[in-house]
Amino acid sequence: MGEKRRSTSKTLGKNKRRKGPHLPNSILKTIANEKRPLNSDEEDDEIDSDDAIVDLYEYEEGVPEEESRKNNRYDPVVNYNYELPEDFEDENVESDDDDEGGNSDNEEGEGDDVVRHTRMLQAVTGMPSAAFDGESKRKPVLFTEAYPESEFNPTRDVLEGKGLLTIDELMAPIEGKPGFNELEKRISRMQKDAQAVVHAPLPKPERERLERKAVKGLVDKEFNKWVHMVKRNREAPTVYFNQNVSLGYSTVGAIASEFQPRTDFEKKMASVLNDNELGEAHDEDGAKLLELNEVSVEDQIKYRDHIAKMRSLLFRHELKSKRIKKIKSKTYHRLKGKDLKKSAMGALMDPEMAKEEAMKQEARRVEERMTLKHKNTGKWAKRMISRGLNVKYDGTRAAISEQLQINATLSRKMNSTNDGSSSDESDDEEELNDGSDQDTPSKLIAKAREKTLKTVEDDEVPNSGLLSLPFMARAMKKKNEEAIEGGKRALEEYEEWENSGGEENPKKTAVVSGRRVFGATAKVEAPKESRKDSDNFYDNSDSDNDTEGIENNDLGAVRDTASPARNTGAITETEFDDDVENPASKTTFDVALFASGSWKKMKGCQNAETKKKLKKHVPYSKGQDKKESRDDESEDSESEAEEMVDGILTSASKETYEIPSQAELIQRAFAGDDVVDEFEKEKQEVLNQEVPEPEKPVLVPGWGQWTNIQKKRGLPSWMVREHEDAKKKRTLDLKTRKDARLRHVIISEKVDKKVEKLHTTTLPFPYTSKEVFEHSMRMPIGPEFNPATIVGSLNRPEVVKRAGVIIKPLKFEEANPNEKVDDEHPRSNQKQNPKKGGKTGKGQSKGKSKQKTKA
């Protein structure tokens, strides 16, 4: 039975150990032939030594997959082991005969073991070896297990928790032996003293893990102490690394203190500077310095002589000038004056002379400007330049450049006192223009009259400067006469306007209608027109009726000329525009200009219709032809109607006139205006601009037209398709527009690229809200927009360092409990060096504590 068990145990062992790669049979056989087990351990050898059979590497069939639970096809079973009944006892425990047999192998080493055992016992118990003799003779009964006893394979006793050896049990056999009492005492003492028990050390990895855990905590603590410094550094708007730099001497004093006199002179200086006596004198009151201040006789004499010389020179000069003044000779004085005149100094001295000089200069300037004598217009100069001799010869070039220089100096504008008049005039004009744009008509008229009067009265001829020249004077005179005449007429006109006072409205319309001229004339006879324009203006001032007549005639004539030429006969206000843009007044006189300005103003204010039209026209300054789309007939009738109105109105100024109702007026005012239509057109135009219509496919002439067949085919299909697609796309785009359904609204969807570049697509990282981001860029930081005191702090970079200064790693500082005190004044603190900040913080804390104690 024992053999059987052993064999079973062996096979068990085999089963355990002989798991290897599943090799094919052929290989296994060869392995077997070579008689070399593949994975033989020492234990294997030990076990197999007794059977000494050829060891075969057994091929093991793998466990079927179902059983190996790889694919859980079967329901899981909690426990595969066969459950033994409660009262089951293992028979194996009692059987010990096989162990005896098994042990027989070890008998050779028995003797050694016994000796060693006794020796050990002797050492442990401290009793003579004789005490154990009896024991050694008895044969110990040993139980062997299938596997060596280890922590993985404990004996059953240990597992069941019984059969543990106690010291008493161990002691029982040696009771009564010599030295037993002593041993017992020692043991009892040991049992009492529980502290001295040394436990088995933990396994190394476990121990190290615990150690690391402790170290981790310590390291974290170590790191944590830096947190406040790191936080402060990170939150600081600026970190400074350029502090505490010792570049040797920093001040002049420091450098000077190191100075050692070397040369004789330096030594002398040093001896004086370091003179004790002198120093004392300085320290006291300086009176002693006077005593020390010795002046040499030679120096004094030198100084006196110098003064005397100067005095005598002055005296002599005085005498000379007196003598010259006494001379009565006219020739002498004339010559002297000439000299003076020649010199520029003379001009400066005498105001009259200066004036004369200026006049001459002015005349020369005028001459130069008229003749351009020195601007290389001469024969010689032209020839030189045309032949390129001025490049070739230095002399010629110099001469030409000299001439140019003369020209430049001569024609330079002089700042003489009399120049102001012309510039004043222009200023007035500007002022007038400005005023006319803003003021009301009545005011304007008053102003104009004032102005005209002024000009009429103010007809004095300037008697100096450019305008004093004879031809200029003549021209001026002529002009003035004209102006006065015109002014007078204008005055009359103003009076009339003022008289008509309350009925300004019809008056103005009349004037406007009078101004209306057809576009045809403007185009056909532009030069004549302008002349007529100015003419009829002056005529206008004579009498209203007259004007109207002229205008009507004019109108008729124009219509006669225009209608055969073009059937359109559309009204254009280009004439008016022209008038505004390059008015004849510019060429005539400032009163005229003013008048035209005022007229424009009146028109703008009063006549809504014309204003409307004007507005319409201004954007289409080029597209005059577009206006031809207007209905010819209606236009004609309208103009006629207007004329009729004019007629009525002019009569109405004398007769009774019934004011039409508001609605009627409005209707009349907007008679020819189709606002809705206009708007639709405008919208269409915007749409066309933003979503342009695709171009119609066109064949390049000559292409695809070689043969009849090609011609018949027409456009290539792809072209047509493309066009269709583009059209579809356009309609889709139009439909998706925001204003597609809003009939009365145009919402432009044009992206303004210039504005787009000033926006970010997303909110940048550190910012969490749009407002904050926008706020961050609100205030400018430049030196032009901020006072110099804060520009530096506004522009300061995050890190301030200096090249060439070694930056040391962070040094530890204790957290300052008074930091919060500093935070109350962040403005003063924020820019400070962290280190410095710490110091000042300490200082402040001291101060605070003092205050506290005082309080």
């Binding site: 390291v219 550094n233 970010t760 522009n795 890190v799 360092k801 090249a803 790693p809």
Partner: protein, 452 residues
């Protein structure tokens, strides 16, 4: 009677010297200047353009090694001195201002892998694949240094042979210990022939080591088992360790924030960690397209420089996900080591093409003495540009960098791959029960676990 007069004090308008500027008085009423914002925007645009025009970062190359430059060390006490070592065992001290070799330190038989200088700048420590650690006495800088062209050679002050090859070395800040990385982490003293401490956690070799500049007894290492470990010398034990998906080539501590460190990873990204909480990176700095080989923090702690295997050097802000600057030249090969100069003004890179290169840390910075007005103008330009940097026109100009073709292409590929990954992820999420698919945030994605 009250008479209003204009008063004009002579003192206010008189200049002391003819070179002085005339005083200009402004009225700062904003209603008088309706265009100020437009003006500033235009200025910002101009400043951005000028920055681009003046961006000439390359200062010079230092030529002399006969093999790829493997490591560098800066002298913490002397700005002009930089040490470099190459794969053939050559160590040189360079004078940056003249860009010449001051002296050489011959002796190593194999590649030198680690180089470091003590904080006082007197002792140079080198180690390499020949299993030796050598200590050298650094020559005192003299005035003749730059003029003397003959190279002098220096004998090692000490030479310690050890059991294994070394990968890196770093010196303690203000102490006399230094740490070498090899088969394990070893702590040495200047005066001992063998290490005073030795740490091993796991079996893989340590490839980089860096002491914390703020806390001299704490150091971080990275090992070839893809781990980053923090050690504390006082407890002589490790504190934390994380395992990442890819190896970390180099580590740098933030000198101004002693708890933070940044790791240069093999996957082309850098990861900033808080030493107290390593299970998640504080920031992932992406931009390199190949492994990041070396990293060094600016002494200001606001930036760090990285050198990569993709032949470029980049400068990152310490809290920004993408680089501020990329430096590359046609001739620069794989960058093995980078250093930020001690005054935070220059950047040095050592590459496989045997050259050291000196760059400006700020590409368009004006070198030399700057007058106060000039300085103010620069500051204003910078401030204005910074203010309007989010607007598209300015942004476009400021962000524009010319990239070498390989990097440009690689970036495109990476973008495509990431996009497709994201798409796939999105689809997967869309087609599975809600909550079943959890995506890790980017900051945790590459970290496998924290080891206890």
């Amino acid at each position: 009677m009250k008479i209003k007069t204009l008063s004009r004090s002579v003192d206010e308008y008189t200049r002391e010297r003819s070179q002085d500027l005339q005083r200009v008085f402004h009225n700062f009423d904003p209603s008088l200047r309706p265009m100020e914002k437009a003006v500033e925007y235009k200025r910002a645009l101009t400043a951005a353009k000028l920055e681009k025009i003046f961006a000439r970062p390359f200062v010079g190359a230092m030529d002399g090694h006969r093999d790829g430059v493997s490591c560098m060390a800066k002298n913490p006490n002397y700005l002009k001195g930089i040490f470099s070592a190459s794969m053939d065992g050559d160590i040189r001290l360079w004078d940056i201002s003249s860009r010449r070799t001051v002296c050489q330190f011959p002796g190593h038989q194999g590649a030198v892998r680690g180089l470091t200088v003590s904080t006082d700048g007197n002792v140079l420590v080198s180690c390499g694949t020949d299993c030796t650690v050598r200590l050298w006495k650094v020559p005192r800088p003299t005035l003749e240094d730059s003029s003397v062209s003959s190279e002098n050679f220096i004998e090692p002050a000490a030479e310690y042979v050890w059991k294994n090859a070394f990968w890196a070395v770093d010196h303690q800040f203000e102490g006399e210990l230094f740490a070498t990385a090899g088969a394990q982490l070893e702590i040495w003293n200047h005066n001992r022939a063998s290490p005073v401490q030795s740490f091993q956690w796991g079996t893989d070799s340590v490839i980089s080591v860096r002491f914390n500049p703020g806390e001299p007894d704490i150091l971080a290492t990275s090992a070839s088992d893809r781990s980053i470990t923090i050690y504390d010398l006082r407890m002589s034990s490790a504190a934390r360790r994380i395992i990442m998906m890819t190896k970390t080539n180099s580590i740098a501590w933030n000198p101004m924030e002693p708890m933070n460190l940044t790791a240069a990873n093999e996957d082309g990204s850098c990861y900033s960690f808080d030493g107290r909480k390593m299970d998640e990176a504080k920031c992932v700095h992406k931009d390199h397209v190949s492994a990041v080989m070396d990293i060094d923090f600016s002494p200001t702690g606001r930036e760090f420089v990285t050198g990569s295997y993709d032949r470029s050097v980049r400068i990152f802000p310490y809290n920004g996900g993408h680089s501020r600057e990329i430096y590359h030249t046609k001739r620069m090969q794989r960058v093995f080591c980078v250093k930020y100069s001690c005054d935070a003004t220059y950047v040095l890179s050592g590459s496989d093409d045997t050259n050291l290169r000196l760059w400006k840390a700020k590409a368009s910075e004006q070198l030399g003495v700057i007058l106060p007005r000039e300085q103010k103008k620069h500051e204003y330009n910078e401030a204005v540009k910074n203010r309007y940097k989010h607007l598209p026109e300015v942004k476009r100009i400021v962000r524009h960098r010319h990239l070498p073709k390989p990097i440009y292409k690689a970036l495109g590929i990476i973008r495509t791959v990431n996009d497709s990954k994201r798409r796939k992820e999105d689809r997967r999420r869309a087609h599975s029960a809600p909550g079943t698919i959890v995506t890790k945030p980017l900051r945790q994605r590459r970290i496998i676990k924290e080891v206890e």
